[in-house]
Subunit: 331 residues, 2 copies
């Protein structure tokens, strides 16, 4: 597979104003902090107050623009990579463009969706647009409000998720620069399509059915079955991914996984023989922020100095679908 | 701009079982057939009975596979390009893969969304994946159930829409073949983001709010304002698009527009100085099938013999966002 001359120029992040500890959430739900610590490991997450997904996405994008020394006028494509859109219509990327003040800009804006893998697939797609010279500076934004769709009766899932946004700007690799996408892959096994789902809110079950069937509009997951499917698919997937760029796990500085839960990441690390120090974890103080979790973790890895230019990193995740996806890149 | 060696190998279409005439719909709604004829011009549309979007998409895809002499195992990527997903989670492409019997296939499946332009943007993106040799045979599927979200009090919009699906398979252009994508472009002007919208069903207004605010979950459009914005943007957009591939309108055999409504297409043809015989129209007997309308019209243009291999065609549309998009290709 050919190396793609694509560089992650800069990243940005936004966390909602309302910071909620496991202790606070526990007393709200009538469960002990220690139960949350054991089950999800999420000790702090942020919940939106009045923030919308496009507002959060725009702040994260501004952050990335500033760190990249750019302004909105330098961006020639906006791709929203959230699992859940802000509105039924139009796409979230258009709403983010509006929040950024680009209403007259004409910058093309569209969404890519593969649930929790949306950012990984979006970055993969964007890289081809950069390489083909279609666009020069693409802004990817993942912004998620998980709290709106949670089932507060299901203590396990509602103590796991958090809201937030991240943005990433990609550009062509400059002369004398070493940033590359080395390989990327995605596989979808739809035998698991209904293991993780929210059946409603699309054209199958219209919100008018909410009164009769509220459960259609809640997130639902058969965690045990997803784990089994992931265990059957992920190790081989990663082996093939590394083989396609002729690397070994020892060549990878940091794995940046989807922050499904602390337990899920521990199980994944075990399956893939990843030493803990190579796994970027932000779930403990961010929660699972759905498709925003990978770019938020990437941003944190950069900001915390855990990765530097030239380091080889692996973005890796699973999603509803059931899909697995990964990108190996030289940062 | 470089010509992309991408060929539309085959197309397929599915219309729901329930065929509804303007007369039948008029008597259901208590309005005369002539009013519908004058306002929307849609004399026949199809409504789903028990069909789901993924079911319709899978039948259209089977149709395209058969016409292309392929089976599912030949497909290496599935992209759903509908404006509205079937479920909140997972993406529609995974559900289509499942309907096609590909549950164990691993074929990557994800969605691209830019409302009514989703297919045009999806085809544009897919072409880069083909050119870069990432995938060899990509299946694009647009499948829409408009009827589920309509406001039956709004006679103008509810007499306009129809349900249906189309599928398109793209491959690299073979030796001695002349199929190419000559150019493509998209522009988003989000000052018009709220002129066409369904505010609910995403993370802004959860379906649990349906009881209090049903209007949030209905499609709403300020037709006059959209027309003004379209008139201001579309003619220049098309001029630039043709200029970028050094063609004139006279070089184009057929324009395949988004089938917004008969009136919208007449106004668009006038704005763009398109002679009626160059404009592919299926709205009169299909209705506006949202993002499925362009690939359905493309399929009909091929099946009806209105375009042949080597003909230059222009796919063109506007969408909520507000966006305009177009692709010039040699079929």
């Amino acid at each position: 597979m050919e190396r793609r001359k694509v560089k992650i120029l800069s990243t940005g992040k936004y966390l909602p104003k309302q910071r909620v500890t496991a202790k606070e959430l526990g007393s709200r739900l009538g469960i002990p902090e220690s139960w949350i610590e054991k089950k999800s490991g999420v000790m702090v997450r942020h919940f939106v107050e009045d923030e919308t997904a496009s507002y959060m996405g725009a702040i994260a994008a501004q952050n990335a623009l500033e760190l990249g020394g750019l302004c909105l006028g330098d961006i020639d494509c906006i791709i929203a990579t959230s699992a859940v859109p802000e509105q039924g219509i139009p796409c979230t990327a258009a709403l983010i463009q509006k929040q950024l003040g680009g209403g007259d800009s004409g910058i093309p804006a569209f969404d890519i969706n593969s649930s929790c893998l949306s950012f990984i697939v979006g970055l993969d797609m964007a890289s081809y647009l950069i390489c083909a010279n279609r666009y020069q500076r693409i802004l990817l934004v993942a912004s998620e409000i998980a709290t709106n769709g949670l089932n507060w009766e299901d203590k396990e899932s509602c103590t796991l998720f958090g809201d937030g946004a991240a943005a990433v700007i990609v550009t062509p690799t400059g002369l004398n620069e070493n940033s590359h996408i080395l390989t990327a892959n995605m596989e979808t096994y739809s035998k698991g399509a209904h293991l993780t789902e929210c059946r409603g809110a699309g054209n199958k079950y219209h919100p008018q059915e909410y009164g009769e069937n509220p459960q259609y509009f809640q997130f639902r997951m058969d965690g045990r079955a997803v784990y089994r499917l992931s265990a059957a698919v992920l190790p081989d997937f990663m082996q093939r991914l590394l083989k396609s760029c002729e690397l070994h796990l020892t060549d990878i500085k940091m794995v940046i996984p989807h922050q499904a839960s602390l337990m899920a990441m521990r199980l994944m690390s075990k399956q893939l023989h990843l030493p803990p120090e190579k796994v970027m974890v932000i779930a403990h103080n961010h929660g699972n922020t759905i498709a925003a979790s990978v770019p938020m973790a990437l941003h944190e890895a950069i900001v915390q100095g855990k990765i530097s230019r030239g380091d080889r990193i692996l973005l890796l995740g699973t999603s509803a679908g059931f899909s697995v996806g990964g990108i190996v890149l030289e940062y």
